[in-house]
């Protein structure tokens, strides 16, 4: 495939596991990117997942929604993550994210928007990214109930540094961006040391923590605006305990917003016109056929 044909574009890392079909998620996310950002899409994947892409998706859809495919051979470190699908179901699955910093090397674009496959673009807001120099990510988040995330997703620990989300990472090809990704790689390589230093919890390797520490270091260990934060706008999310139960059309999603304090309580929410990070991936996969139906019916 031609390199650097397009100046701006969107990349997704897509590595399947036995529990979640990331290919299916990526194809849905790419469809929304084409609809609202109208940008070329690059899928970064491995040989096995690429095989599944060709087997599970029609060639017509692949041609329509994917412009570049980059096959990687990186060894993906074991990283078991606990997922929820509403408050009532939980499962564990491999979370392959150890090479995410290599997007600098893998992206075919001069200006790249790296999105997670569960981030659904529902308006053109992210096009503002291309007006930034350097790097941009969200450092605020708001649930579909308009609640803040759990405390350990606001700060790395109670007295810790501000958390930045690696769900959406914009970067250009500046020296500063290169330094950012080199630092991210260094932190990933020395994750246990930085876990000790920054006191963040858990055994899961999280790139959110890597980028948060990188931002902190590059900011002179203080708060600064060296990294763009989407003008203080929050990233809206469907938590793993929330659910997406239906879609009136490609835009209006009917969701159940679960109470963070009383897990038996949900409220119905119609979510429209704002991008959504759908952390409950199984819910997204369940509603996908309906969404595709709506796309095709137009």
């Amino acid at each position: 495939m031609p390199e650097h044909k397009d100046k701006q574009g969107v990349c997704f890392f897509v590595y399947n596991n036995e529990e979640l079909d990331y290919v299916d998620l990526a194809m849905l996310a790419a469809r929304y990117v084409k609809e609202y950002l109208k940008l070329p899409v690059c899928i970064i994947t491995d040989e096995g997942t690429h095989g599944w892409l060709k087997q599970s998706q029609s060639q017509e859809d692949i041609d329509k929604f994917v412009d570049y495919i980059k096959i990687t051979t990186d060894e993906l470190k074991p990283n078991i993550r606990r997922h929820y699908d509403s408050p009532y179901t939980e499962f564990k699955a491999q979370f392959s994210n150890s090479n995410k910093h290599k997007i600098w090397e893998y992206s075919p674009f001069e200006q790249t928007l790296l999105l997670d496959t569960d981030y659904i673009v529902k308006n053109s807001f992210l096009l503002k990214s291309f007006e930034y120099d350097g790097v941009a990510m969200f450092n605020n988040a708001l649930s579909i109930r308009n609640d803040k995330p759990h405390q350990n997703e606001i700060l790395l620990y109670d007295q810790g540094i501000k958390m930045w989300w690696s769900t959406v990472v914009y970067f250009d090809r500046s020296d500063f961006s290169k330094m950012f990704f080199d630092l991210w790689a260094h932190i990933a390589d020395n994750y246990q040391f930085y876990q000790f230093l920054y006191n963040f919890p858990g055994n899961l390797f999280r790139t959110d923590y890597c980028v948060s520490i990188a931002v902190h270091i590059l900011s002179g260990m203080e708060q600064s605006n060296i990294i763009h934060n989407y003008d203080d706008e929050p990233m809206y999310f469907v938590s793993q305990r929330d659910n997406v139960i239906d879609a009136n059309n490609i835009q209006d999603w009917i969701c159940l917003g679960n109470s963070s304090t009383e897990s038996w309580k949900d409220i119905l929410i119609k979510h429209s016109n704002l991008d959504l990070h759908v952390m409950n991936k199984r819910a997204l996969l369940r509603v996908k056929p309906k969404l595709v139906e709506h796309f095709n019916a137009r």
Binding site: N123, F125, K128, E131, D133, L142, I144, R145, N146, N225, D231, E233, P234, Y236, D246, N248, D252, I254, G257, I267, L268, I269, K270, H271, S272, N273, L274
Partner: protein, 116 residues
């Protein structure tokens, strides 16, 4: 359950859902009001629009600088162009706000709020 309480709880659920939907509309409007200009970011609200218009009216636009919403000084070469962008964003955001707000105001049940 006491029918009076049942009705009140149903209304309570409706209010909760309604308030959340109102906030979702405001979230969308906030995004629409953001205007990037010459490396700065401005919120297209009445205050910013009035300020830019005042600068134009008082002919204070030569070598002009405006402090943006991130407290950075932004050089503005063409105030009219900035004003136009601000007004466009404001009009578009407030129009969408009005349409969605009206829809919500007419919805008397959770089902109709959901349009489902």
């Amino acid at each position: 359950m006491d029918e009076r309480l049942e009705k009140a709880l149903e209304f309570s659920n409706y209010t909760l859902t309604l308030n959340n939907q109102k906030q979702n509309i405001k979230n969308r409007v906030a995004q629409l009001q953001l205007v990037h200009y010459n490396g700065g970011v401005f919120v297209a609200n009445q205050e910013t629009i009035s300020f830019v218009k005042t600068m134009i009216d008082l002919d204070k636009t030569v070598d002009g600088v405006i402090i943006d919403s991130k407290d950075n000084p932004i050089r503005v070469k063409d105030y009219k162009d900035l004003l136009e962008k601000l007004v466009d964003a404001y009009v578009s955001a407030s129009q969408e706000y009005a349409v969605e707000y009206d829809k919500l105001r007419k919805s008397r049940s959770i089902k109709s709020i959901m349009d489902w």
